[in-house]
Point group: C2
Chain length 272, copies 2
Amino acid sequence: MIDCGEGTQLRLGKYKVKINRIDHIFLSHLHGDHYFGLIGLMSTMHLFGRTKPLYIYGPTPIKEIIDLQLKHSQTELNFDVHYFFTDQTESEIIFENRDLIVKKFPLNHRIFCTGFRFEEKPKNPKINKEKIPQDFSLSNIHKLKKGEDIYDEAGNLLFRNEELTLPPKRSRSYAYCSDTKYDESILAYISKVDLLYHEATFANDMKERAESTFHSTAEQAARMALKAKAEKLLLGHYSVRYRELDIILEEARHIFSESFLAMEGNIFEIEE
Amino acid sequence: MIDCGEGTQLRLGKYKVKINRIDHIFLSHLHGDHYFGLIGLMSTMHLFGRTKPLYIYGPTPIKEIIDLQLKHSQTELNFDVHYFFTDQTESEIIFENRDLIVKKFPLNHRIFCTGFRFEEKPKNPKINKEKIPQDFSLSNIHKLKKGEDIYDEAGNLLFRNEELTLPPKRSRSYAYCSDTKYDESILAYISKVDLLYHEATFANDMKERAESTFHSTAEQAARMALKAKAEKLLLGHYSVRYRELDIILEEARHIFSESFLAMEGNIFEIEE
């Protein structure tokens, strides 16, 4: 999960997301709309009997804030919480497993704030069942899946990998730029993502206010997507002054046609 | 406002309660379901430009918790926050104005927890317009409203107060007992209230669990209402295990017929 504003646990319930499926929470920064829901979510995990560890990635003070509230409610969580602090300004890998790498990178906001890039690792080739000989061994199947060629015991090439496999699925990528002013120094970190979330707090009518509050306009978000060669752009974090969001979408699409409005409950799928 | 769980500001919006009308917030204790919404509500008050002071009544650590979160979001509130700490165990007046007195009193829960009693002060008599002489002065009207008799300049009684007035409206009272086990030592503080809110986390099937978690059963809440000679009892804080609340209401009414279930959005009026 990325960021966790007040009422997140209510929304998870509404959209039938199982709370206990969440193991990693990435917090961009410590403005309340991005983390006030964390302590409540953690308390509910505890009440629901969670025992598996939870991993939280965010600025250092988050631990003090959570611990203080747990202390004064005399709550000893049933599960371990592992923190990974994001305060170093350089970009770095903060999570990695078999399938996925997550990097954080600096944003340019009023307070310390990081973006996140989620990138699938290169995937294995798919076995082409029609081409596999009937007596083919399981260990050879595993070799094919790892992208290896097949040799006989004497070391002679029997099959090149691509003879028996289909190309792997694409590796997808997603970058999340919460709360930031327009800053091209971020481009390197979000280059060529399939989906870019970039805040678009204001339309062009409030460009000066965007500048002074370290936020972006829709047009600036679109310009970032264009320059980063992103496939699609997700806009969000709209100022409450925009009751209709047409202007936000319009101004973004004028620069980058594959722009979309993030709205509560929407699902955007990235094809493999 | 009494207590302020996560999502309170969302609910205030849903029920069209103006956030800026709230000046005093009474917190019973520091379990999250009673205060996690406070920091978000205060942040929204700030964003909405509030300048008038806010008064918070609760356990001492609430200030540290709020201040820590404001500090790390680098938020300097536009309004003053005045804290009144409730940590002394004895009952005392914590708020008083022209119309109202609020007293806190100790509850019996796992962590430090207080109840609150809201009591209207005796009201002024109402002027009986039909009986007032035509040339009656404004200063004499004020005297009547204060309950005084009317004399002429020589000091002779002209009218006894009750000749020209109608009896004042009733002074209403409400007591709020969040999270507590059954404890008759509380009775003195909730005596003869018009409306008693008393938690009823469990039905009788979970009586032992109520005891061990310092909560009450519906029957125990009803027994408190009966012994305190309350007019009406409001039940609440139901365990999520009760999908149907009939059993809670039934067990309470068996002891105290004027028992009612508090449900989200309900309004209970106390007649004057």
